[in-house]
């Protein structure tokens, strides 16, 4: 028996047509969606506070479901998705709405709740992992706190007959591990199998990053038709081997190099990659190219899971104001440097109170900052980019206001954008902590179309 699991997205803003391709042509047993970054939940909470009509789930939910539901229904492909964000029930109801609109009845859709612990987080947690300080210090600034759930509630929902499972915060690899555990009956004690399942889940969770995305480096690592990358498909065997591949006719590449790059992506200790389900050990992974765009992965193992679950705590941490303006041609860099002097003086005059102020020359040192090697030529064009982190939005707005002043009161030949965009944004800082897994109780709500 082989189960085929396809990727439908790797983040909120991901492309939708490769998901549809996988749904239509992938002959999939499961299509899995990962739509969250670290700050997604907190950002959704902030938006919900400002706009009570915001439903609180993936803002692309309608587009994604309209694209994949017809193929998934036709091919009997189950869907597992973390598009529920802060409202898994709402997302499930919306999916039921689309199923009924398409005339499809009798499909069970499960919502997994229990990840949000904003109210209780200070009682349930102790130490901020990044700083060693008490989580109590974050009091009054907390926007959201969520536990990274594991595969167990998803497996339970599948056992309850769900064909579509939508969750809030869940560890990304668990989204893919759950169907393997359900289909092969792997229990929580079988940590070798769970290590494999979560290891493969880790390879799949970033979608096209294993099929040639975030990879091309012309002349060194070339990617065929990089404008049309297929999302990955994993063919899973119950003996702990998987083949990572993609649809025929799509662009991109799956080879040992793409697998290796993704294997360590966002991994710290590859001997101990902690997930809610298991501690994955990647050190004995075997990677073998068996045909074009087909790579066999085996040998990933696991160790018993930890007694704790990770918690993300999103906090209000002030604002960032930023803007940029431009120079080109003869003497561009000299004018940019004069502009910086003017700006720094202006910020003194208007009393900008910034926790940090950064003025970069985009095209010279804006990306690699202080480690940029010395440039021995004059750049033909350059952008001056200004950013400041401040306690209040009013302070952050001073950045844009002073850049506005550079239009008629600045340096000669300054190119400037009309300030059409919002030049301030709120910072949601994300901190981590641990919670006793026994104190967390996920719940499942089952809907039917």
């Amino acid at each position: 028996m082989t189960i085929r699991i396809g990727s439908g997205s790797a983040w909120w803003g991901d492309r939708i047509s490769p998901a549809k391709d996988n749904a239509d042509r992938g002959q999939l047993n499961y299509l899995c969606f990962e739509t969250m970054a670290e700050a997604t939940i907190s950002t959704a909470q902030v938006r919900k506070r400002k706009d009570p009509t915001f439903p609180g789930y993936d803002t692309w939910l309608d587009d994604r479901m309209k694209a994949v539901l017809p193929g998934c229904i036709k091919n009997k492909t189950k869907i597992i998705s973390n598009q529920g964000w802060i409202n898994p029930n709402g997302a499930a109801e919306r999916i039921v709405y689309w199923l009924r609109t398409m005339g499809v009845r009798g499909i069970k859709v499960a919502a997994i709740n229990g990840s949000l612990i904003t109210q209780d987080v200070l009682n349930l947690t102790d130490t901020i992992l990044e700083t060693g300080e008490q989580t109590q210090l974050l009091e009054n600034r907390i926007v959201s706190a969520e536990v990274y759930q594991g595969a167990e509630p998803v497996v339970q929902a599948l056992r309850n007959g769900a064909q579509i499972v939508v969750t809030g915060r869940i560890a990304d690899p668990s989204i893919f591990a759950a169907p393997m555990m359900f289909e092969y009956g792997w229990g929580m004690g079988e940590f070798m199998q769970l290590g494999f399942a979560n290891g493969i889940g880790h390879l799949m969770e970033c979608g096209a990053q294993v099929t040639g995305g975030y990879f091309a480096d012309p002349g060194f690592k070339d990617v065929p038709r990089p404008w049309d990358l297929g999302f990955p498909i994993a063919e899973i065997q119950d003996d702990g081997t998987a083949i990572i591949t993609k649809l025929e006719g799509t662009g991109g590449i799956v080879n040992a190099m793409t697998i290796k790059e993704q294997l360590l992506y966002e991994v710290h200790d590859p001997y101990n990659y902690i997930t809610p389900d298991v501690v994955v050990d990647f050190s004995t992974t075997k990677i073998k190219e068996i045909a074009e765009n087909r790579v066999m992965v085996s040998g990933i193992t696991g160790k018993p899971r930890t007694p704790t679950l990770k918690v993300s705590i999103g906090c209000e941490e002030g604002f960032i104001g930023e803007d940029m303006f431009f120079y080109a041609g003869e003497g561009a860099l000299k004018r940019a440097r004069l502009a910086e002097i003017i700006l720094r003086e202006r910020f003194k005059i208007v009393g900008l109170e910034a926790e940090e102020l950064r003025i970069d020359y985009l095209g010279l040192n804006a990306i690699h900052g202080d480690m940029t090697p010395e440039i021995k030529y004059e750049p033909y064009e350059i952008a001056v980019r200004v950013a400041a982190r401040t306690a209040t939005r009013e302070e952050a707005m001073k950045v844009g206001r002073e850049v506005d002043g550079m239009a008629v009161s600045g340096v000669g030949m300054t190119g400037k954008r009309v300030p059409h965009q919002d030049r301030t944004r709120e910072i949601i800082g994300v901190w981590s902590s641990l919670v006793d897994r026994n104190k967390i109780s996920p719940s499942i709500k089952l809907y039917e179309s």
Binding site: Y214, L264, A366
Partner: protein
């Protein structure tokens, strides 16, 4: 001969909070030992001077011929707080490709 890492290995960076991890993956088995011997955590941190503010820990996966450098304090206080345009540090890995490694002359034919 002294060769830039770009011809010997490929890399990818990932983010978690204020920590960036940067993998260095040898194109050929023969390149792995000289890279591992010459690119220590200390050398790595020196090459990112001014950007990596914290500790660098190196993990080796010898069977897969790859190294993982875990760089604390490399993301300007964290993805959401950072004032860097590339706040996720997605482009950070490219810096190490300029690092020079001494390799045996007879490996020249394997260079990428």
């Amino acid at each position: 001969m002294l060769i830039k890492l770009v011809q010997l290995a490929h890399c990818r960076s990932g983010d978690k909070g204020n920590t960036s991890n940067i993998s260095v993956i040898a194109y050929h088995t023969e390149f792995y030992a000289p890279i591992k011997n010459q690119l220590s955590a200390d050398e790595f941190k020196k090459f990112y001077s001014g950007v990596i503010k914290g500790n660098v820990t190196r993990y080796s996966l010898d069977e897969l011929q790859m190294l993982n450098f875990v760089c604390e304090g490399a993301l300007g206080g964290g993805v959401s707080r950072s004032l860097c345009l590339d706040n996720y540090g997605k482009s950070l890995s490219s810096r190490i490709l300029s690092f020079k490694i001494e390799i045996d002359d007879n490996l020249e034919k394997l260079l990428q």
